[in-house]
Amino acid sequence: VKLSRRSFLKLSGATITAAALTGLGFEVKSASAAPLRIAEAKETTTICPYCGVGCGIVCHTVNGKVVNCEGDPDHPINLGSLCSKGSALYQLANNDRRLTKVKYRAPGSDRWEEKTWDWATTEIAKRIKETRDESFVAVDPSTGVTVNRNEAIACLGGAALDNEEAYVYTKFVRAIGTIWLDHQARI
């Protein structure tokens, strides 16, 4: 029963139990004796994208694929709870009905066409520019005051935008003269 420093360290902590049980004749389940399939998961915190409350979520991923979402128990807003919509957040990532490509339905058309992201962003920019140029008011005709405003485009911010995203969004829409800027949480 002589113990060296090395053998004691081997015995310390969690391994005491395993060593003692083996010494007493118990069969200790081994991870290597019967090869077990080991899964490796990551737990990452995020914010629920659905409404302006901003509940904390813990996302579990295995090999980069979302396998579970749950409320973050340490988040000061929700303390681990989620509403029914937030609880179903897993389906946002894993859903065969989720759109993964750009779909476009032309004015008057009865069908959707598949488009590329390049096409979509270029088209959106082109139409914003056209609308803005057509409706831009540099001087209010009734008062003669310089206003530089675009009266034909309204913009709506998302409830889940954080401070920085909301700031950039506001800067962008004000830069094109938009005055109708509102927030989804007010709907």
Binding site: R5, R37, T45
Partner: protein
């Protein structure tokens, strides 16, 4: 023993909650019946020893210097725990049942030193009883647990509901975590002290050893099909903690029992180069120096 009939610290040894866990595991893993019976027998002795402590010494002390355990109680505890283990072990040596007698040649402080891992004291006792040192250490640790729970119980109770979300060490006695659990219904994480058995809240995303809070450095490993038992490994300090998730395991868990039914996860962690947090904590990382308590 129920929470109503006993001091709250004695709930740590509540055979009722342990019984629920054992029943569940007997159904799921009948091959573990022998070790489960041994754990139940040890827990029953600990509950009775805890009761004896309270009737002899009164309520758990608050804010005093720790007195030594009564030597008669200590010898009785070692004898009863050793006997309970011997009665339920497939290959217990004769020396195990004689451990109580061998311990009578030692003073209480020396026995406490051996239980605390003092190599010389442990060797002395193991040699006297002619049993392996690891078995002697296991018996001693089980035997002193009711004493440590009694000693630190008042402080642990006074800390209940206080916000200590970043404590890496036990806020009651300064011990290291044995393992942790995620409780129903919302998955809050609690760690259990390897020393006095107190349980305290700790953040879900965070390493209890070095305090790392970067989620990309922490990974959960589990056996496919048994997601309720996981080990969280930290790539910053190369340590791990085992977790039992009550939400996936179907109710309250008894962590000393969980520690035994998840020994394969310890093996898995060690195989991958990690050490258990119960073997000592690392200094806090720079990023998480708010966890430096």
């Amino acid at each position: 023993l129920t929470a109503e009939s006993a001091s709250p610290w004695r709930a740590l040894f509540d055979p009722a909650s342990l019984g629920v866990s054992i029943k569940r595991y007997l159904q799921q893993r009948p091959s573990d019946a022998a070790v489960l019976a041994m754990v139940a027998a040890v827990a029953a002795q600990q509950a009775s020893l805890a009761e004896a402590l309270e009737s002899t010494l009164g309520a758990t002390p608050a804010g005093q210097d720790p007195p030594a355990p009564p030597i008669e109680w200590m010898h009785d505890s070692i004898t009863r725990i050793a006997q309970a283990i011997a009665d339920h072990s497939p290959r217990a040596s004769a020396g195990l049942t004689a451990l109580g007698t061998a311990a009578q040649r030692f003073a209480a402080p020396r026995l406490m030193e051996a239980a605390d891992g003092n190599i010389a004291a442990l060797e002395e006792l193991a040699t006297a009883a002619e049993i392996p040192a690891d078995v002697a250490l296991y018996v001693l640790q089980q035997a002193v647990r009711p004493w440590l729970a009694w000693l630190h119980g008042a402080r642990a109770l006074s800390l209940t509901d206080q916000p200590f979300p970043t404590r890496r060490y036990c806020p009651a006695c300064g011990g290291q975590p044995l393992m942790g659990k995620h409780i129903e219904p919302d998955g809050h994480r609690y760690l259990r002290c390897n020393n006095c058995g107190n349980e305290w809240a700790f953040p879900r995303i965070g390493c209890p050893s070095c305090g790392e809070t970067d989620a990309s450095k922490i990974e959960a490993l589990f056996v496919d099909g048994d997601e309720g038992h996981r080990i969280y490994v930290c790539k910053t300090c190369m340590q791990y903690i085992k977790i039992s998730d009550e939400r996936l395991l179907g109710g309250r868990v008894h962590l000393p029992l969980e520690d035994i039914v998840t020994l394969h996860l310890d093996e898995l962690g060690v195989e991958r180069g990690y050490r258990s947090v119960s073997q000592g904590l690392q200094p806090p990382t720079v990023q998480a120096n708010d966890m430096s308590h």
